[in-house]
């Protein structure tokens, strides 16, 4: 981001920092608008999902980097946070692929006449 330079010296130009924040806010809103537009468009499904996920990842990164100052902090903090984020993503992907490839799902639940005995 081009604003990195100014941010470092934010103390000296407070008003310009505020402007950068506001610009970031506008950028985020704009991306959201694009996302909204995409979701109503008639793009092919796969492409749309990729774009949507890509854009929200960009938003995610912007907020973390600028609003949460991660970009300007000690790298250690980035690593600590990324560790959780990456692990969460990996586990999500693993879980989803385990479930989406599951071929043992019996459709329609338990067959007729095999229900449990009555409870008492």
């Amino acid at each position: 981001m081009a604003m990195e330079h100014e941010m470092h010296h934010g103390d000296e130009h407070p008003s310009s920092t505020i402007r950068q924040y506001v610009m970031t806010g506008i950028l985020l809103t704009a991306i959201t608008a694009v996302e909204l537009f995409l979701s109503y468009s008639s793009l092919p499904h796969g492409l749309m999902i990729t774009l949507l996920i890509g854009l929200s990842a960009v938003k995610f990164a912007i907020v973390v980097a600028i609003f949460m100052h991660l970009k300007f902090e000690n790298r250690l903090l980035t690593r600590l946070f990324l560790f959780g984020l990456v692990l969460a993503t990996c586990i999500m992907i693993a879980l989803l692929s385990l479930f989406w490839n599951d071929t043992t799902d019996a459709v329609g639940g338990i067959p007729e006449g095999q229900q449990t005995a009555p409870k008492h």
Partner: protein, 346 residues
């Protein structure tokens, strides 16, 4: 025992002997345990042979690590015990040695992994053409077996022919149970909402049943949820099929007749099917059409003898805690009749 020269050799020799003897005793106990009725080390089908091939590799590699580490631990303890006048050698590590020590476990792991992968592929492959299809349904706390091709439904005792692949679809009517016949097939769970599969080709027909037991905790009577597999010769299996397909035997004696009536009066018909008895179409309990020809009742907990039946009917939850068959408060007389009737259902 010292830390150099002969002392070192004595320590290692002594440790080897001690660990060797202990390991040997353990091995004897393992072999001894392998000779039990529900043993996991007596493969009697292609499935369990596949498993056993890996098992032996894995077991022996594990045994080598076991012996090796235990000998080192004991030997080092003896060799380097505190002694007057000696001091510890100060070193922080040894990169070459550490590299070797990294390589050895890697090799062991690879040696275990390769055959494991092969066995996974074998045992999760599709069953061969012409396999006998069975649907096994786990209930709290008994097993139902259906043979869709044959039209047979039975409970707790599975009959299969020798030499033909048996393909089992696993289902559950309530909670998770598991299908495990240690000598015929490795465990696969019966998952409610899912349909699991397994298959095996038994290679030895015998009169004794192959023992099996539910191996996933399923509530109060999990311990009492057992089943038996009979591997029959072709001829015997055909005979069994025929007999099982037939309607229940018609009552021949008075007491059996009375028992049949009692069976209706006591409400047994609401839960049990007896093929040929038009009112007895309940599905909540085991199919009793040929209950008399089973060797055990209540999923293997009681012998199928008049005594066993008597015990069961007088208070099922006392035999199997939590049993879904309630205590029906039957009188002695009623139990007598029912026992006679059930015994006649060969």
């Amino acid at each position: 025992m010292g830390r150099s020269g002969p002392g070192r050799i004595i320590a290692i020799a002594f440790s080897s002997v001690v660990v060797g003897v202990i390991s040997w005793l353990c091995y004897l106990a393992f072999v001894d345990s392998a000779d039990t009725p529900q043993s996991t080390w007596r493969p009697m089908s292609d499935n369990t042979h596949n498993i056993h091939t890996v098992y032996e590799i894995v077991f022996w590699l594990a045994a080598i690590v076991f012996v090796f580490i235990l000998i080192l631990t004991l030997a080092f303890t003896l060799m380097f015990r505190e002694k007057e006048g000696t001091t510890a050698q100060q070193f922080h590590g040894n990169s070459k040695l550490e590299a070797v020590l990294l390589a050895v476990p890697v090799l062991i792991v690879v040696a275990m992994m390769v055959p494991s992968f092969k066995a996974i592929a074998q045992n999760t492959a599709d069953p061969p053409e012409g396999a006998l299809e069975v649907i096994a349904i786990g209930h709290q706390w008994w097993f139902e077996f259906q043979y869709p091709e044959l039209g047979v439904t039975t409970a707790n005792e599975l009959h299969v022919p020798v030499g033909r692949a048996v393909s089992v679809k696993l289902k559950s009517a309530d909670v998770i149970h598991s299908f495990w016949v240690p000598q015929l097939v490795g465990k696969v769970d019966m998952m409610p909402g899912h349909e699991n599969h397994l298959w095996f080709t038994p290679d030895t027909a015998r009169d004794d049943a192959y023992l099996a037991q539910c191996a996933e905790f399923c509530g109060a009577s999990h311990a009492n949820m057992r089943f038996r597999v009979f591997v029959d010769t072709e001829v015997k299996f055909d005979a069994w099929t025929k007999a099982t397909l037939a309607d229940a035997a018609k009552p021949a004696t008075d007491i059996v007749k009375a028992g049949e009536q009692q069976f209706t009066l006591s409400g047994c018909v609401g839960c049990h099917t007896v093929q040929g008895n038009a009112i007895a179409v309940g599905k909540l309990g085991p199919n009793l059409t040929h209950v008399g020809s089973r060797t055990t009742i209540a999923s293997g907990v009681l012998a199928n003898t008049p005594d066993g039946l008597h015990k069961w009917l007088s208070n099922p939850p006392a035999v199997k805690p939590g049993s879904k068959m309630p205590n029906l408060g039957l009188s002695e007389d009623q139990i007598q009749k029912l026992t006679a009737y059930l015994g006649s259902l060969k």
